[in-house]
């Protein structure tokens, strides 16, 4: 392709990078840190509270490590994946979504999406870090993971692909953020594209972890990887609206025209994606009701069983219908209303992940056999320790967000 822009040579990149590290950039950051130190009192109060949350929950998490997960957590042999896995999924879904939605601007060049890029990329690194932190306290031997993932890889395992690709993703996104800070937009674009590709591959593998378990009827099938990508975009849109609105509050500033426009397009995209998710959910349920007995049981647990409140109140009303109506009503101009919608979406999606992970396991393995051990749905309620790890993960994201807003001065881009 002759018209394609030539990729910059390594030496040029190095030269450019060296140039960018001149005194002005450092001085800029320095002044930002000073600015951070002279932040408003409410900012410090907020930072102190979130910091305290992280501290307390990390104590609880370390206590869980000490006492052993079998005692500290309520996961069982039959339901080994609980709220920690669903929270991990929630965070990485959000991260991938932030990456995908922001890439519309800084990778594919749609001007309207440009202003949200920096904050989104920063938050995608933060949320995936939060996710991995939660996963760290779920996996029994996380340190072995680093070693044996490399020296004993199983290429048929979706977990292996997910871990490896998310590793690459995290690296590319971090690199992209640095390039964005240095205003190296071309390089940021390449890093962003690499991040996007590895992120989508990783995320569909995360869906496939569930979708390829043929012993679990509720999950099995191609639905999961596809649904994960679509719902990731919805999560990403919600996170962008939520954190951008909050960011401007934290910095006590008003949005300029281009940012308002960005919020409008992201809001419209959210509305579209909500409609798509409603469509997905509807057909998941309708097909599930005429499936094999195990799947029908799982769907019934969701619709009329112990998870009915989660489904109808949190997933449907708070997660889909509520924000959909609010977004339409806001006409994508009323930022307060859009913020409320995004908050509702985030809460709803969190519960959605929980239901998705837990309900896949509540129908006993020998359900069809009609034995005494598998006549009823299996119970699971998160323990105190599990909830604290989840709170800690949310706390980490909150602290990092607050610090990011001050240190990187509202993630403003100089080029509009």
């Amino acid at each position: 392709m002759p018209n394609e822009p030539k990729s910059p040579k390594v030496s040029e990149i190095a030269k450019d990078l060296a140039k960018s590290f001149d005194s002005s950039v450092v001085a800029n950051w320095y002044s930002n840190i000073v600015g951070f130190l002279s932040g408003s009192r409410s900012f410090y109060v907020l930072l102190a509270i979130t910091g305290l949350v992280v501290f307390v929950s990390s104590m609880a998490a370390l206590n869980a490590v000490n006492t052993g997960y079998r005692h500290a957590y309520n996961v069982t042999r039959e339901i080994p994946w609980g709220i920690l896995i669903s929270t991990y999924v929630f965070f990485v879904v959000t991260s991938t979504g932030l990456c995908i939605v922001s890439s519309i601007g800084h990778v594919f060049g749609m001007k309207d999406f440009m202003p949200i890029a920096k904050r989104s990329v920063f938050l995608s690194v933060v949320t995936i870090f939060g996710g991995f932190t939660v996963l760290f306290f779920d996996v029994e031997n996380p340190f072995r993971m680093a070693l044996y993932n490399v020296i004993s890889p199983n290429l048929t395992s979706n977990i292996w692909w997910m871990g490896t690709l998310y590793g690459a993703y995290m690296f590319f996104m971090a690199v992209e953020f640095v390039f964005l800070l240095l205003e190296k937009h071309k390089l940021a674009m390449y890093a962003g594209l690499s991040g996007l590709l590895s992120g989508i591959a990783a995320h569909s593998n995360l869906g496939a972890i569930f979708g390829m378990l043929h012993a679990r009827e509720y999950w099995y099938g191609p639905y999961m990887p596809i649904y994960f990508i679509v719902s990731a975009m919805a999560s990403g849109c919600a996170a962008i609206i939520f954190f951008t609105w909050l960011g401007y509050k934290v910095n006590n500033e008003r949005m300029d025209k281009s940012m308002e426009r960005a919020m409008e397009v992201v809001g419209k995209l959210s509305t579209l994606l909500l409609a798509v998710i409603m469509f997905f959910t509807t057909w998941k349920i309708i097909t599930g009701l005429v499936a094999s007995p195990g799947k029908v049981e799982a769907i019934k647990a969701l619709l009329t069983g112990p998870y009915a409140l989660n489904f109808w109140l949190f997933e449907v009303l708070i997660g889909m219908a509520g924000p959909f109506v609010l977004l339409l009503y806001s006409r994508w101009k009323n930022l307060g209303m859009m913020f409320t919608a995004s908050l509702l979406m985030i809460i709803g999606i969190f519960v959605m992940r929980y239901d998705l992970v837990v309900i896949g396991q509540v129908v006993p393995s020998f359900h069809d056999l009609g034995v005494k051990e598998s006549l009823h749905l299996l119970p699971y309620i998160p323990s105190f320790h599990e909830i604290m790890v989840v709170v800690g993960g949310i706390g980490i994201v909150a602290v990092a967000f607050l610090l990011g807003e001050k240190i990187f001065a509202g993630h403003k881009s100089e080029i509009h």
Binding site: G68, R70, R77, E78, P80, W81, V139, E140, N141, P142, R144, M145, Y148, N149, S152, P153, N154, T156, S157, N158, I159, W160, G163, I209, M212, L213, H214, A215, R216, S292, G360, Q361, P364, S365, F366, D368, L369, G370, V371, K372, E373, S374
Partner: protein, 251 residues
């Protein structure tokens, strides 16, 4: 479907005794074909299930991929739930009180005539197509190339518990002492590799429920029990397609 066309007009139909055996057979064939279509194979399920089960060894008949190809036949109706197999397993394999490698499920049918309860022993099925092995990210669980036993390399286990979720037979649990997932390995390390012929559970069973053996050996009892047509043989959850090596039968 290739059905022979029967001309009904030419059939004698006034007197039943005059119906020739051939006509009778033709008629039954049509009925069978129709009911087969509508029942979607349900009516034929006894036959087709047996074929399915039989298919597992049949595919490898004479060319079992493993030598010895270990498997177990469970003569379900003989089980009296004495749990000596479970005790023997715990003693032999150092299984903690919070876990188990083998278990006896209980089925109660209150409106059954006569006997109202039956017991179904379960353990790892050492599948030919094991979902756990596919899912493990670090090859900590693997299918032994020689014996076909699904084994654990405890050192490599990261404790992600994907194999536990992947297993259709609830055969896996996290062992705190081993810091890894633990499961039945047909007593390979504790007995079989030391020259014993039976697993601890099979040796302990007083009712001859668990017949452990080499399926690739045509003289083994396990082989003979599976490769016959007189009594139905089945596996648990055949729809998963894991191709288990633990077979069930009655009588």
């Amino acid at each position: 479907m290739n059905l022979k066309k029967t001309d009904f007009e030419t059939l004698k139909k006034d007197k039943m005794e005059k119906v020739s055996p051939i006509e009778r057979r033709e008629f039954l064939k049509i009925g069978l074909a129709i009911s087969g279509i509508f029942a979607g194979g349900t009516i034929l399920s006894v036959v087709s299930n047996m074929n399915k089960v039989f298919a597992s060894p049949e595919e490898f008949a004479g060319k079992y991929p493993y030598k010895p190809h270990y498997g177990m036949v469970i003569r379900q109706d003989r089980c009296i739930d004495c749990e000596r197999c479970m005790e023997a397993c715990v003693m032999t394999n150092d299984v903690p009180e919070y876990g188990y490698r083998t278990m006896i499920l209980e089925k109660e049918v209150l409106d059954a005539i006569g006997q109202k309860k039956e017991f179904i022993p379960v353990l790892c099925n050492h599948c030919n197509n094991p979902p756990c092995v596919r899912a493990c990210p670090t090859k900590a669980t693997y299918k032994d190339k020689k014996t076909g036993i699904v084994m654990m390399n405890y050192e490599k286990c990261i404790g992600c518990k994907t194999c536990v979720v992947a297993c259709p037979y609830n055969a896996r649990y996290f062992n705190e002492e081993k810091h890894a997932i633990d499961k039945c390995n047909f007593c390979f390390d504790t007995r079989i590799s030391k020259g014993e012929k039976l697993t601890a559970c099979a040796a302990a069973c007083p009712a001859g429920v668990r017949i452990f053996g080499d399926l690739s050996d045509t003289n083994s009892e396990a082989y003979k029990l599976i490769h016959q047509l007189a009594r139905p043989v089945w596996v648990l959850r055949p729809e998963v397609g894991a191709k288990p090596n633990v077979f069930y039968m009655k009588g």
